[in-house]
Amino acid sequence: MSYKLPDKLRTTVVGSYPYFPEALKAFQLRRRGDRGLEYESLVREATRKAIMDYLEAGIDILADGEQRREDMAVFFAEELEGFEISEPVRIFDNVYFRKPVIVGKITWRREILVDDWRYASSLTAGRPMKVTITGPYTMYSWSFDKFYGDMRRAILDMAEAFRREIEALVKAGATFIQIDEPALSTRAEKRDVLIAGEAFEIMLGGLSNVKRITHICYGRMERLFPEILDFPIDQYDFETKNRNYELLDVLKEYSFDKELALGVIDVHTSRIETVEEIMDGIAKGLELLPPEKLYVKPDCGLKRLKRETALAKLRNMVEAARRAREELA
């Protein structure tokens, strides 16, 4: 079954979706070290439900909702060689989380996402299924390093490991590969951006017939420019709605002409944006780029929202893109 993507203002998602009860139960099993048939069945059911919601909303380019990932860094750390998981660390008040700990050379040891991607792709009614990978800069920033003592070496080793994974995904047929680097904008030091650039070159350099995407959000994103524009990236996926589209002025300043996935939904509020409000956001994006290069999506992953809220927001987003396309026609 094939699906014809619109040629303008395609809609997509960043990745995560509110966890279904099956996913929460799967996390409990995983924490106990049980990854047997019941665990797999729960993850698959949660994934299926997430994809059904994306389809119901009418999203063009899907993701699997990351129902297998309780934490975007810990998930990959558990799959790569060279990591352990720490004791709890406080994040605020009396809320704790566990962080990956780098304890040895980081290497790829087995396929991480290929089976999930195949399964998710079988449910999309022909729509493309994007793969999301937590980038090595973010993995390093959100980990403790007990082994390297050298950020660059650790990040580049991680990039090599992810290159193996990406090659396996491309071989399996994945055509949309997204590297999530939310930590990159936290410090946004030039030295760090350059290291991230080397990592992107390792992960995505020379890949053909693949849409290479990076998602970055919440921080000093303006400080990533212009170096970030030299990354081997076809599509930049940014959080823009949350800060009233101010980032578009920065993009204008640098004559941005690549594809832009424009955040038009604030994922930190339960308020449902109206179709008109989202269309206003899209109009701002169209002042920068032609509609063929503009993708419409939420600012970030949706996992912090209630399912009903997330779905309602996506429905309005898809409707806004549809009406904007009509207006353009």
């Binding site: 720490s86 004791e87 709890p88 660390v89 406080r90 994040i91 605020f92 008040d93 009396n94 704790y96 962080k99 700990v101 920033s141 959100w142 403790f144 390093d145 007990k146 003592g149 936290t186 410090r187």
Partner: protein, 326 residues
């Protein structure tokens, strides 16, 4: 030059205290039971510090949710607001939101300092947020004039120091905003003036007060904070090359210098001899009456078990330095 060792501020909550916080909020234990667990935990953390060789101890700030929380909860005119990232850490504080006239209603942290005093053999350090950082990281919804806000804030913090001074040997005033790279020169100068004004109002000798800066030290910022009329804590691990240059360019000849030489945000293994060797390279440039070996900032950024290891490393640094420096 006398040598000491002590952590910069907080220590991670022991597992039983973490559980007690959850139990209290879920109503499974009473305030009284929670208070007993907290007091036990403070005593345990004091003993842990002393066993590791610390000559200066803190309460571990075990009851503090963040730098401001005890103050936002107990000063009049303040509320705990939205969560905000604390500098570049994956750690968040609730923004002190100023909704009325700020007034000190009574001792805020005295009880925990008395708990430390009762358990400690060495010097006891109390910690308060400094007025400049408090101002920069809070949200003002009440005062029309920033000067008026500062007057009240400084008075409230002064009153707290007044309550603490008989139980604490050292007062640490946390001012990470003084070295915030986002600040311009004039704002930083103003910050130094504000902190100096606050210090001038304290009825505590200058060699019993330490202004703690952490994260982002560089030579220019360091030169500016040298004008502070108190001892100084500096973070040598967040920006190590710049901090190294800062100390070597501008030296230090005040009463107390606390060197944050154990990275409190990393768990990378430490060789105490290497640390001491490194600090030795500063001795041609610095001449404080008291040199304190410390963690670079609070220890909340790492797990409890790793903080215990770092504490042990800090103790070994002091022991090694006592042999090599004298």
């Amino acid at each position: 030059m006398r040598l000491h060792a002590g952590i910069c501020g907080s220590f991670p909550r022991p597992p039983e205290l973490r559980r007690a916080f959850d139990d209290l909020s879920e109503g499974r234990i009473s305030e009284g039971e929670f208070g007993r667990i907290l007091a036990n935990s403070i005593r345990d953390v004091v003993k842990l510090q002393e066993r590791a060789g610390m000559s200066i101890v803190t309460s571990g700030l075990l009851s503090w949710h963040d730098l401001f929380r005890p103050f936002t909860m107990r000063l009049e005119g303040l509320e705990a607001g939205r969560l905000i990232r604390f500098f570049d850490n994956n750690f968040y504080y609730r923004c002190p939101t100023i909704t009325g006239k700020i007034r000190w209603r009574g001792p805020i942290t005295l009880e925990e300092i008395q708990e430390v005093r009762g358990a400690a053999r060495g010097l006891v350090k109390a910690i308060i947020p400094g007025p400049f950082t408090f101002l920069k990281l809070s949200e003002n919804r009440f005062y029309a004039s920033e000067d008026e806000l500062l007057d009240d804030l400084i008075e409230a913090l002064r009153a707290e120091v007044g309550a603490l001074k008989s139980s604490a040997d050292l007062i640490q005033v946390d001012e990470p905003s003084l070295v915030d790279p986002e600040l311009g020169r004039s704002e930083r100068l103003r910050g130094v003036d504000i902190v100096n004004e606050f210090l001038s109002k304290l009825d505590v000798p200058g060699d019993e007060v330490i202004v703690a800066t952490y994260f982002n030290l560089d030579p220019e910022r360091y030169a500016m904070i040298l004008d502070l009329q108190a001892g100084l804590h500096v973070d040598l691990k967040s920006t190590p090359a710049e901090a190294d240059q800062a100390l070597k360019e501008h030296g230090f000849d005040g009463p107390i210098l606390s060197l944050g030489i154990i990275d409190s945000r990393s768990i990378y293994p430490i060789d105490p001899r290497e640390v001491v060797y490194h600090v030795k390279t500063y001795l041609d440039y610095i001449s404080p009456d008291i040199l304190v070996f410390s963690t670079s900032s609070w220890l909340d950024y790492i797990p409890y078990n790793e903080a215990v290891r770092r504490l042990d490393a800090l103790g070994r640094v002091l022991a090694e330095a006592e042999v090599r420096f004298i």
